[in-house]
Symmetry: C2
Subunit: 207 residues, 2 copies
DNA sequence: ATAAAATTTAAACAAACGTTTAATTTAAAC
DNA sequence: GTTTAAATTAAACGTTTGTTTAAATTTTAT
């Protein structure tokens, strides 16, 4: 959307890193400026304030999601395959932007609503809507159960993935994942398979 | 464990509230002291530092979990019923201590490991172990599938619940839950039912 | 080449931070 | 009742915070 120059992109990248590592309050403008190799005042100059910097970061990172959702829905696939594709999209998006998701999920949880999260909430509503359409499609075809809470399906997918990433230290210890690659690989293989298996079991299971 | 006097309990309660509302960095010693109606210096006097205050809070809130897990395992129930009981225990514990969980899940996610989370990691390992024993019991009896990732079952349960609570604002909007009671009721009814249904479907589903 | 606008800088700002100090009050012990 | 220890206080400590300023530099336009 809004295009940024190189220096602005440097600032956004540094902010993403430090916000995720130390939290919004924990990260200081001075550290962000040093990480981005710019003067302290440049952040106020370009973004206005620390809060507006976070806002710009989130909008920058969430743009484009809506289009990808539309693409999946319009593909010529069975509902079950569309669900698979949707799960893959979720995981790759969240994995790609894990820093930003970490920031947002924390900021959303605090009571002092430091910013207007409308852009992010819109994305989430679109996700729910995409799932609703696909699952109802499958229900109409008789391949999906009908006694399920569709709204909670995205919550389930994102909840498992985000919780796994948020507890990285514990997971690494318990699963003996001793490198970044091993951790990434576990998400890409075992965790993704588990999520797909879980959602499929829920949608297809018959008593 | 360690017993606290009334003033210390006031401080712990105020700290829990403000840490959860504003994050560890966002909450200030001065605000905590005002909330607890004590002098600023009393916090250093009793707990030593802000970090040690958080540490004391977590140990205070997690004590007793291990015993409850043992009780469930030793009850005379079917594996499926034990899983149900375990899910109920999870949800009630996390619901009861939602502030503390919110704090911990954020602190665990930051890279600057500000404190020794050993007490909390131990609890999590015990949870995993409890599930492993119960599910393997069910597998031995032939009532549970064997091609599942047992380690990820607690992750799934806690992930769904924590993610729901962390995104309270979004959930309230999307589900039109317009009061605290309505939100609590949704967790107690719909969300709990969804989690149980999901785990059961995963454990029992046959292709 | 010159004027105007945009960028970049070091320095300063007031405010808030966690913690400590030293003095005072309260409680306990003998 | 006196002494000793614990609890409590207001004030000050030195840092760090986000933001602003005003001057210097670079870029752009004419």
């Amino acid at each position: 959307m809004t295009d940024f120059n190189d220096k602005q992109l440097d600032i956004l990248q540094a902010a993403e890193k430090l916000f995720a590592e130390e939290g919004f309050d924990g990260a200081s403008i001075r550290n962000i400026a040093r990480e981005a190799n710019v003067n302290i005042a440049m952040i106020s100059y370009y973004f206005g304030s620390k809060e507006k910097l976070l806002e710009a970061l989130i909008i920058h990172r969430t743009s484009g999601m809506k289009m990808q959702l539309e693409n999946i829905f319009n593909e010529n696939l069975s509902p079950a395959d569309k669900v698979d594709r949707l799960i893959d999209l979720y995981i790759s998006r969240i994995n790609k932007n894990k820093c930003m998701y970490q920031i947002v999920h924390f900021e959303l949880s605090t009571k002092k609503r430091i910013m207007d999260m409308k852009a992010f909430i819109d994305i989430k509503l679109q996700n729910v809507e995409a799932f609703k359409r696909i699952i109802q499609e499958g229900q109409a075809q008789g391949v999906f159960r009908k006694d399920i809470n569709i709204f909670l399906i995205p919550t389930t997918i994102v909840g498992i993935l985000v919780h796994f990433q948020m507890n990285r230290m514990f997971m690494e210890t318990a699963l003996q994942l001793e490198s970044d690659d091993a951790f990434e690989a576990y998400i890409k293989n075992e965790l993704t398979a588990h999520i797909k298996q879980t959602i499929k079991a829920l949608l297809l299971h018959e008593n």
